[in-house]
Structure formats: C-alpha cells, structure tokens
Symmetry: C2
Subunit: 229 residues, 2 copies
C-alpha cells in the first residue's frame, strides 16, 4: 500500500475510535511500526489535520470531517455553492457562519479563474427570509445532537401562551419559518413549534429517554400516511 493511501486509512482509524488510542494500537491496525506511525501523524498534522496526542493517553481526532480528494462536476459544485449560499442567508447565525466558512474553504482551493467565476457567480439567492426569531436556533440544534430536553414558552396560533418541555429531534426549514419537531411532554404527542413563536428558550441538561433516530422514524411514519389533509 502506498504511503498516501495509508495516511487516509490512518484518519479513518482515528475516526472509528472515539476515545484516545495509543500509537501502538494504531500501528498494529495499519501493519506498520510505531516509529513510522509517529512520522505519519507528524505528516498529517503538517497538512492541517487536527490530531492531538497526549503523553500517557493516546491520540484523538478533534471533531470534524476530513474529506478525501473528491471529484465534482460543474453542476455539482454549482449546486453545493448555491445551497451553501442559501444556508448562509438563514437567520440561524451559527449555521449561517458555518456555511460561509465552508464556502471560503472551497473557494480557497479552486484555481484563480474558477474562484472568480464563483465569486461573481450567476446563481443568486434572494434576501434572507425576514423571520425575526428571538431565539438562538444553535441551542436547538445542539439539544438535538445531544438528545437533551428543551424548555420554552410557546404562543400558539390563537395567541394563548403555555410553558412546554419537549424532546427535540428535528428542525425543519420552510419558506418563511423554521419549525422545531419534538415530542411534547404536556401533550404526550409529536408537535411542531414555529421558531418565531418560541420565547424564553432554555436548554435542560437532562437527556430525554428515547433515541432521536427512533423518534424521527416514528414521526415520519405518522406524516407519510396522513388521514386528514
């Protein structure tokens, strides 16, 4: 196996183990000596891979995704750029910043003439959906990722307000509104909450008792065979 292939394999190995791994273990998995492993790690770090080693513990790959070399067609890259621009205009600040960063990273590796074409690109996205949301959707996304409960004050369509504790598992992006999809403890059922009607949002540190993916599947089943509308 060539060295460059092995370096990619090494990243995959590090991703498999979430906890710190000793260099010796990695060397065994790759079939190389410990000395060579140290050299490989140094090479990867030199190329910017966020690998951390601590004496007495082992190596960890800081969260992040290393994409290996990939081929995209013109239209595929156009699609990615257009999509990222759309996300960049969303009101969710953290996500929008992430989209802008991703765009910058992609632009940075394109040759000059193509970068210009992207900068002055011909696919434009309309103005941000001017939904004024008082809450930070980043909190919601984090709660979803970590399967944590959320508490907030909800003002429904009629104007009546109620305090809710919910188990969030999805976030929907519609034309004008963003919707938190969650299990509502009060109603004991799946409910959708428009982000612009949520106030006093607080993350609760307790994990909710079900798996996010299972809830998502169940919820999908209920909306895919609708009986009413």
């Amino acid at each position: 196996m060539s060295r460059s292939e092995r370096l990619l394999d090494l990243i995959q190995c590090l991703r498999r183990h979430r906890r710190p791994v000793s260099g010796q273990t990695l060397a065994n998995e790759l079939g190389i000596s410990i000395r060579t492993l140290y050299r490989d790690i140094a090479t990867l770090q030199g190329q910017g891979a966020p690998i951390e080693g601590e004496a007495g513990l082992g190596y960890v790959l800081k969260p992040g995704f290393m994409l290996p070399p990939l081929m995209f067609s013109d239209e595929e890259i156009e699609a990615i750029v257009l999509g990222s621009r759309w996300v960049a205009k969303q009101p969710d600040r953290r996500l929008s910043a992430a989209a802008a960063n991703a765009l910058a990273k992609i632009a940075a590796v394109l040759p000059d003439d193509l970068r210009e074409e992207l900068d002055a690109s011909t696919l434009l996205v309309g103005p941000p959906a001017a939904a004024i949301e008082g809450i930070d959707l980043g909190v919601v996304r984090q709660a979803i990722r970590n399967e944590r409960k959320l508490a907030f004050l909800y003002r429904d369509a009629g104007g009546a307000a109620s305090q809710r504790i919910v188990w969030p598992f999805a976030l929907g992006f519609f034309d004008k509104v963003r919707v938190v999809v969650a299990w509502c403890e009060m109603r004991q059922d799946f409910r959708h909450f428009r982000a612009d009607r949520i106030a006093e949002l607080n993350a609760i540190d307790t994990r909710y008792p079900r798996r996010r993916q299972a809830m998502l599947r169940e919820w999908r089943a209920t909306i895919e065979k609708p009986r009413g509308s």
Copy 2:
C-alpha cells in the same frame, strides 16, 4: 517536493490549460522527466481523475473539480448537507439531480456511523416551492455560462405577452419564484423575468457582445443604490 504534492500540482497545471497540452510541456512545468509524467498521469487516472490523452494532441482534464482533502467542522458539513438538500428540492431538474449526486458522493466517503447520522439527519427542508415552471432552467444556466442569447415569450404581470431576446447573466432563487436577470434587447435595459411567466424558451447560438461579469457588476450597482423603492 513529495510525490503526492506533485500529483495535486499536476491537476492544477491541467486546469490552467483549457486546450490539450503535450506531456512534454507538463513535464517541464513540473520539473520532471516525461517518463515520470506518464507514470503520474497513470496514477491519477487510477484514482479516478478524468484525464484524457490522445496521441498527436495532448492531455485534457474533463470539466470537473477535484477537491483536495479538506477539513470541515460538524456545523460546516451540516450546512453543506442542508444547503444541498434545499437545492435538491428545487424545480430545476438538472441542478437538483446534481445536488443529489454531490450528497451521495459526500455520504460515500463518511464512516458508517456518521453516514447514518446524515441519512436520518435532523435538518429537514420543506416541500419544494411548488412553482410550476414549464421551462427547463438548465437551458438558462447553460446560456449564462456560455454567454449566449435567449429568446422567449414573456407574459408580464398585466397579462400582456411579448416576444423577447435577452442576454442572460444571472439567475435568482427566491422564496417562491426563480428570476432570470438579463439585458433586454427590446427595452435596452436590465430586466427581471419570472421563470414561471416564460414560455417557448429557445437558446440562440449567437454570443452576446458583452462580458457576463461586467453586466453583473453594472446591474448590481443599479440595485444597490435604489432611488425609487
């Protein structure tokens, strides 16, 4: 310079030259012998790069973008995936297919557990903006890329129809409608055309006399200091 770096350089070289380049030229640019160049080309082709060589002509890189290894944070990859999903739901069939392909390519290189997370991802995009456009926006995008004229029948807000010949240079994606931005030969001015009011679209094979980017800049200047609205 290490071999793997040189391979990336080789791709950049091929991208710079749009027309076929002889192997000898490339070898000179990279400072290697012609024999080694052949080996490098073979290696790249083995890794899937779309390089074509023809005897008597030279090498061409088929259009497409090879992205070198890139690091993205969790949120950046979430942003890219969400954006691509949005594009995948757009009515422009070719672009939407491209977005789906790009998503598949990204998913293919992620380790299993992360791929699952993406598949059952928690960021959803609402139903496609149900604008029924009778025309193929792919034709418009291609005309923009190649700086070619377009002819179509346009029905304006009042219902009056007129035959137009325009120089398209941008495509705007708004909440519900897509808008072609172009110089209108009839009005001798910049005009916006809603895609759902365009009929009998035909690409014309003649190039329009101005540069797309210059028109885009000029048009931007006119809308950034609006006097009316």
